[in-house]
Point group: C2
Chain length 389, copies 2
Amino acid sequence: MTVLDIPAGSPFGVENLPYGVFSAGDGSPRVGVRVGEHVLDLSIALGDAVFAEPTLNAFMAQGYDRWVEVRTRLQTLVTGEVPAEAVHAVADVKLHLPVDVADYVDFYASEHHASNVGRLFRPDAEPLLPNWKHLPVGYHGRSGTVYVSGTDVVRPSGQRKGEDGPVFGPSTRLDIEAELGFIVGAGTPANTPVSPDDFPRHVFGAVLLNDWSARDIQAWEYVPLGPNLGKSFATSVSPWVVPVLALAGARVPLPGQTSPEPLPYLRESSPWGLDITLSVEWNGQEVARPPYREMYWSPAQMLAHLTVNGASARTGDLYGSGTISGADPAERGSFLELSWGGRDPLTVNGESRTFLQDGDEVTITGAATTSGGAKLGFGEVRGRILPAR
Amino acid sequence: MTVLDIPAGSPFGVENLPYGVFSAGDGSPRVGVRVGEHVLDLSIALGDAVFAEPTLNAFMAQGYDRWVEVRTRLQTLVTGEVPAEAVHAVADVKLHLPVDVADYVDFYASEHHASNVGRLFRPDAEPLLPNWKHLPVGYHGRSGTVYVSGTDVVRPSGQRKGEDGPVFGPSTRLDIEAELGFIVGAGTPANTPVSPDDFPRHVFGAVLLNDWSARDIQAWEYVPLGPNLGKSFATSVSPWVVPVLALAGARVPLPGQTSPEPLPYLRESSPWGLDITLSVEWNGQEVARPPYREMYWSPAQMLAHLTVNGASARTGDLYGSGTISGADPAERGSFLELSWGGRDPLTVNGESRTFLQDGDEVTITGAATTSGGAKLGFGEVRGRILPAR
């Protein structure tokens, strides 16, 4: 038996306890929880076969009461003695995609982001469209190309608008979108809409998400049916799933929704705004600090919207918040906005940048702050651009 | 042992042999092939555990050479003696969703449909958008709400545009879209685009597909990110998967693509137009005969487009053709077009109809015609509307 070292103020202390899927050496992927700089193998520590699965899906499908029970046990367990063979250093393990993604939906819930994009893509019109403050606008993305942090991203090729009809080639405006992703643990059957107040009974946890975007491909293809190939080549997520049970301590009010008021199916008794700040590093230099607490729509409202038409939700469904951009220019979560459509290059390590160049690496980190002042770390989502094939 | 009765001219003769998943009595779902009015249990007839699976996915994942081998064996087997215990009457079995759907994408490949919708939704603009003849426009839909034929559809509720901001309630413009759906059997890894000529090595077969659509919800939500809740409540598919190996006999030229010519990645050595005619019945009365041979983009081009940006494709991916509408008004595959946005009601069994009423039932059937004149039946995709909850 051994005792886990948890440094004071660690973003991976007992108030966090995020779940992930790891493998050590030749071992098979299995479920672990991160404690300080350790990974605790739950298949050993709790002796339950559900944690020997290669994804979190089976555990998540056991439902809310079980999530509470396991978390309560872990909070006791990690502060006492644990089997030495269940403990690994984070640096020594390989981290895997934590869930088998069912449906993937991406929202568009930052008013600052939607306004910025509106100004850039439709300069002669009102930046916010008439529906935007009435519903969380979103669309389905490709679940088969959701990758874990560290997966390289090959520059996508596709059609973009040319002088004289479209031209084909590698994207010249490759971008990121810094987001949070929410993972449905306990689904809902068809024709049973979820109330926003039931969000914590259905959504298991959250990850950082980078919605890589080829702006030139997207601009040419997206009218009238929305983004497709400009997004579908890759979406990256962080490996640690921070439980909603932990994030409940970081709830804050939403910044808007007074005029107009949301329709009844979108109203929350107590809002699910979250005090989470992201940091975007481009080749190691921080270029933005997107504030999640400024998002207009909450993740609870997103789930209510997704299911209000009778659509079911399934274990493993993933939905992104949309790009997180704050009011301040240094809080913008995409290079499209940070460079204002390429007009205002950034200086990154002394080099000029608008969109991504081959070899560039982007790392997004983030942490929630609870009302008690504790930090809940998300770890990172990282990706490097390889040249087009 | 017994001999299967295959009536002359049956749309389920040896040239077709569609696969499905059925259960008989208390038996578990398993793979069968339809022969005339019989279902042959392949787990017994071929004695292979892959056919005892509850979906076609494991068999499909075995790849093209295996599909050819099994089809060749079946063409001999069904004309000789088969084990009596492997034979069921179609009328006696329950049919299930044949595949575990991975990603679902819906295209928009009929020029007549896209033009009609353009005229109805954007009356003051060119009906076809500038990108339409350069790429098969499509978007991702919800794979978790793909249902097998016979599943009732509860009328969806949602937001629609009102006089004074949005109103919430049951959709008042509930519609169908008569389509074909194509099922990927053998996927492709990331960053390995599929040539249109490799379509039959990746796509296992085709089904009829009804993309139920709530036009009022869709019209309010779809700008700028495309359809979401107007579609995500239900998509129905027929239970029999007609093999591409069978459909190869029904290939025809595409009607367009001379001006402009498609970009090189979309060019086919020999086109994958298909001579398939659908029939749409509304409460038992035929209201349209959509001709698949008039589609602008082929399913081989759709797959090439989906993967050209480096996106992988997986076993179980489903992609819809988009509504099939011909040049003739009686060939339109949606009630939106058949009633011209509700302006011109149809008379159905003596009753006036524009969009679907509670209790209405829609049945879409279809058959391919081979160059030799054989009919390859698809069976049917059927659904009935239940009142909103």
